[in-house]
């Protein structure tokens, strides 16, 4: 997300206290508490015309893409981290006409489009944007188009809500949000045509597609300089549907990115109000008419309540935070929060719901607190106490700790198998598949003093009765206790933008990162008494390595992608290597050739290499070991599955898999980049007096050879007539260029002359 510092500053008092720290400091604080900073760029001030700015590229990952792909979200985050006062946009209501706009909006499937707000605005003036607006967009690298389009883009970058504007005169009849028909087509804003299918959601009118929902607008109802009347759209679309459409059509943009990451439908309302205000301020004429919105929002979600106790925070982070410290952190966030005694909270919230009607399969997020079934009632009531229970009674049974009837106290759960309807004998969500042989289909909450509260089809509503007299609970199958009830909890109401705050550990993270990971003390874990178990495969592989290096083989790694094989990759990175190798040999042979060409450089008489790696067959993969030799006489390669390889190398079937060998290595080994230029190989042989040492000869050679001599190897030595002959391979190479024969001839002449100048030495 590209963020302008000047834009951010608008969310803080312009007074001294609200001034943001230096961009460098800001970047550091964000890095250590919230987000990685990809880059910071300073835009210089351009005289009177243009104020300077810092452009900060912030890496917002999917968990915060709900709320932080916009300036408002980042500003809120900074307000929390700096403990500064967040000043939200002032969105005064714009004066609306009481007339009927005649705009009709219809949604085919509210799962794909949870909310659609349309608003007709008449007699506006489409023109260039005011300077403040075009400058804002251009600073972030966006193109300014006209005042109306720019306002929608501005709101997306400010609030994170994509918006769209249609030319109302080019829209025929009402707006219908529906799936495309097979072979339907749309001409997009950029003039390209997109082929649609039944998986793609459209905004349409009587004539056909107007836009691809959440992804791209169509050409037909584009807002142009001639446009007088518009329909503003602020909508919410299903994230995975937008993602699939965007992938299918290969269109990724600011809008699809925000929708595929999921944004709250609540945001659409806020954005529409803001857009209307800005249109009225920047695009209105004397006769502008703003109609009321058409807001289709069939299911509105409850705010999430999430809770955590002090000990849970410290138990995860390994900190010793005090209640006071946690309270200070929560106060900085600006969230609505309270500290609750969970048992009390469960009791009071449960009792206030007496009489609420029963609905089988009622949703905790949408139907509560108006309608409940037995388990949604329990889940909702516990959520008020900051405890997230699984949704279904059988899962609540597995989730809770078994207690005896005599232990029953306020806040405990009582379960029965009512014998009718669907009885669950296994858990569904919580530790899925756990056996519940007694079967569970109903739950009630014990409130102490023989009182139980629950709801069922029979009671028809939330109902309180005496447990001892309840027909329903005459034969309970078990009693459950929720451990978290015993400690005070911090319970927050997650702001609607924060779709990432759902469970306890989400709050642990918030508190941990605001506190600062760098402030968490390092602590060694308690020792585990068991000694580590040896992984046989790993031990075996290391033993094969050990055997092979002891036999003089050196190790190479080759790529698994290959020209041929049994297993093919759908999307290879190189079209000539779409397969996974089915042997190591083929590439090992190539490595032998490569290294044989470099044998003089490596001072090798023969090349001996091996590789251990995975090979892939149609129905399985296995680890093979292959080793090979290349010298003047032969090329030989062997390859075995790793167990067979070990047998072959040690002549023993058993093998020792009880210990893992460790390999000695050079201390402080450092890699020296090798030259990519060809080397030149020369031989030199010299007769010397009988007692001459190899080193004496080499010293002279090295001295005269100069900087291009990169390798030297004695390849022959013999004595004859009181004389000894030494013969060396000399390898010359430059890091910077290709050496010429003639310059090396000169070097060789120097060496020859130097050797010949010694008494009784003679270059052969």
């Amino acid at each position: 997300m590209i963020i302008s510092r000047n834009w951010l500053q608008e969310y803080f008092d312009s007074s001294k206290d609200g001034k943001l720290p230096s961009t460098k400091e800001l970047a550091e604080i964000l890095t250590m508490h919230s987000f990685e900073i990809e880059s910071v760029e300073t835009l210089p001030a351009g005289g009177q015309e243009k104020s300077g700015d810092d452009i900060i590229d912030i890496k917002v990952l999917p968990n915060r893409a709900h709320d932080c792909l916009c300036h408002r979200g980042i500003a809120r985050e900074i307000a929390t981290l700096l403990g500064k006062n967040f000043v939200d946009r002032e969105i005064s209501e714009t004066k609306e006409t009481e007339d009927d706009s005649g705009l009709k909006v219809e949604i085919q499937d509210s799962k794909l489009c949870p909310r659609y707000i349309g608003r007709r605005v008449e007699n506006i003036s489409v023109k260039d944007s005011p300077k403040w607006l075009s400058e804002k967009l251009e600073t972030l690298g966006e193109r300014s188009i006209n005042n109306v389009v720019d306002i929608t883009n501005f709101i997306m970058l400010d609030f994170g809500q994509p918006m769209h504007a249609f030319d109302a005169d080019k829209v025929a009849g009402g707006i219908r949000v529906r799936l495309a028909a097979k072979d339907e087509k749309i001409e997009l804003l950029d003039g390209k045509e997109a082929m649609l299918d039944e998986s793609i959601l459209l905004i349409t009118d009587e004539k056909g597609p107007l836009a691809i929902a959440g992804v791209k607008g169509g050409k037909r109802a584009e807002v142009t300089a001639e446009t007088k009347n518009i329909i503003l759209e602020s909508a919410n679309f299903n994230p995975s549907m937008v993602r699939k459409t965007s992938q299918k059509l290969g269109i990724k943009n600011n809008s699809s990115k925000r929708y595929e990451n999921e944004i709250s439908p609540e945001l659409a309302g806020l954005a529409m109000r803001y857009a209307t205000k800005l249109i009225s301020e920047n695009a209105s004429t004397d006769s502008t008419k703003i109609y009321k919105t058409e807001d289709i929002y069939p299911r509105r979600r409850n705010s999430y309540k999430v809770g955590v106790s002090l000990s849970e925070i410290n138990r995860h982070l390994g900190t010793k935070l005090t209640e006071k410290e946690v309270e200070n952190i929560l106060n900085k966030t600006g969230w609505k929060w309270e500290k609750v005694n969970p048992i009390e909270k469960v009791k009071t919230s449960a009792e206030t719901l007496i009489g609420k009607p029963y609905l089988l399969g009622a949703s905790v997020s949408y139907d509560a607190p108006e309608k409940f079934d037995c388990s949604s009632f329990a889940a909702y009531v516990f959520a008020q106490a900051g405890i997230s229970l699984p949704r279904m009674s059988v899962d609540q049974y597995v989730y809770s700790e078994r207690i005896k009837k005599e232990e029953l106290s306020s806040g405990d759960l009582v379960f029965i198998n009512g014998g009718n309807g669907k009885i669950h004998y296994k858990s569904i969500e919580w530790l899925a598949g756990s056996d519940v042989p007694e079967g569970v289909d109903h739950v009630g909450i014990f409130l102490g003093e023989d009182k139980i509260i629950h709801t069922s089809k029979t009671t028809g509503a939330v109902f309180i009765e005496k447990l001892s007299e309840s027909k329903y609970f005459a034969k309970p199958v078990g009693f459950g206790r929720i451990k978290a009830l015993k400690e005070e909890r911090f319970v927050i109401t997650a702001p609607f933008e924060r779709l990432d705050l759902k469970i306890k550990v989400d709050l642990v993270e918030e508190i941990g990162r605001i506190y600062g990971y760098e402030n968490i003390a390092s602590a060694s874990p308690k020792e585990i008494s068991t000694s580590p178990e040896i992984n046989e495969d790993f031990a075996l592989i290391q033993q094969i390595r050990s055997s092979l290096i002891n036999l003089g083989y050196s190790e190479v790694y080759n790529y698994a992608f290959s020209e041929k094989g049994e297993v093919e990759v759908e999307n290879p990175i190189a079209s000539d290597k779409p397969f996974l190798r089915s042997n190591l040999k083929d590439s090992l042979v190539k490595s032998l050739e490569l290294n044989w060409r470099n044998a003089p450089l490596l001072a090798l008489e023969e090349v001996k290499i091996f590789e251990i790696g995975t090979v892939f067959y149609k129905d399985k993969e296995q680890i093979n070991a292959a080793w090979g030799i290349k010298n003047k006489k032969e090329v030989k390669v062997e390859e075995y599955e790793m167990f067979a390889a070990q047998e072959k190398l040690t002549n023993s079937k058993a093998g020792n898999r009880e210990s893992i060998p460790y390999f000695p290595r050079k201390a402080d080994a450092k890699f020296e980049p090798f030259s990519s230029y060809p080397f030149i190989l020369r031989d030199i042989a010299v007769w010397t007096p009988k007692n001459t040492k190899e080193a004496e000869v080499l010293d002279i050679i090295v001295e005269k050879a100069g900087k291009f001599l990169v390798q030297k190897r004695l390849f022959d030595k013999f004595e004859k007539n009181e004389k000894v002959s030494y013969a060396f391979n000399l390898v010359f190479q430059s890091q910077e260029r290709t050496l010429t024969d003639s310059e090396i001839n000169e070097v060789m002449e120097k060496i020859t002359a130097a050797l010949n100048s010694k008494n009784d030495w003679q270059v052969r």
Binding site: H33, Y517, N535, Y553, N595
Partner: protein, 253 residues
Amino acid sequence: MKNPENDTEESNTQKGHLHPLSLIIADIGKIFSEMGFDIAKGPEIETEYYNFDALNVPKDHPARDMWDTFWIKPQKDRKLLRAHTSPVQVRYMETHKPPIRIVAPGKCYRHEATDATHDAEFYQIEALMIDKDITMGNLIWITGEFFSKLLGKETKTRLRPSYFPFVEPGAEIDMTCFKCGGKGCTTCKQAGWIEIGGAGMVHPNVLLSVGINPNEYQGFAFGFGIGRLTQIKYGINDNRLFHSGDLRLTNQF
């Protein structure tokens, strides 16, 4: 504990050379086994379930974009080349009960453009520790110990917030820049730190997917690229050399 760097006695019998990645993998195995970790392994061709679903990375979720994945033909089988070593966590927890301490070195594949520090075939190591009371503080301790043992005492590590769907809280592991030691230079873009891996407390959904009760057990996981560490430790300028089959690399070690 002995520092592997000090084990330098040259053996007369050693004739061949080991690949630098193998040396680092051996070091990692040694350091972790001395801290009581088992080594675990898993297949390179994985199912979508182990690579994503069981790790709380749902289908059609933008988090999937964090891993550019190679799919195996036919795509309807939903098999892939593992994009990280994290599937090993899941496989191991399916067959072992806590307390758990494992490291899993292994090869991974990502459909990414290659350059001096990225390759489509690369190596990762995953560490996982689960018990009743394992904390972020323990994670900080273990990562600190490991990196200072592998790269020298002067190497410091830190955690900063990040996001991976299979952990919560999530973190990125940084280590002090190997070039400047933390003062700030071009390699670390003046930050003094370089990003080396991901970490966090195992997400309750991951524990639930393997039948471990997150109200009873908790712990951390972390993972990082072995290639990058090997490049840092030995000053290898281009990671594509690793798979070159070239002794001009191997024989320097």
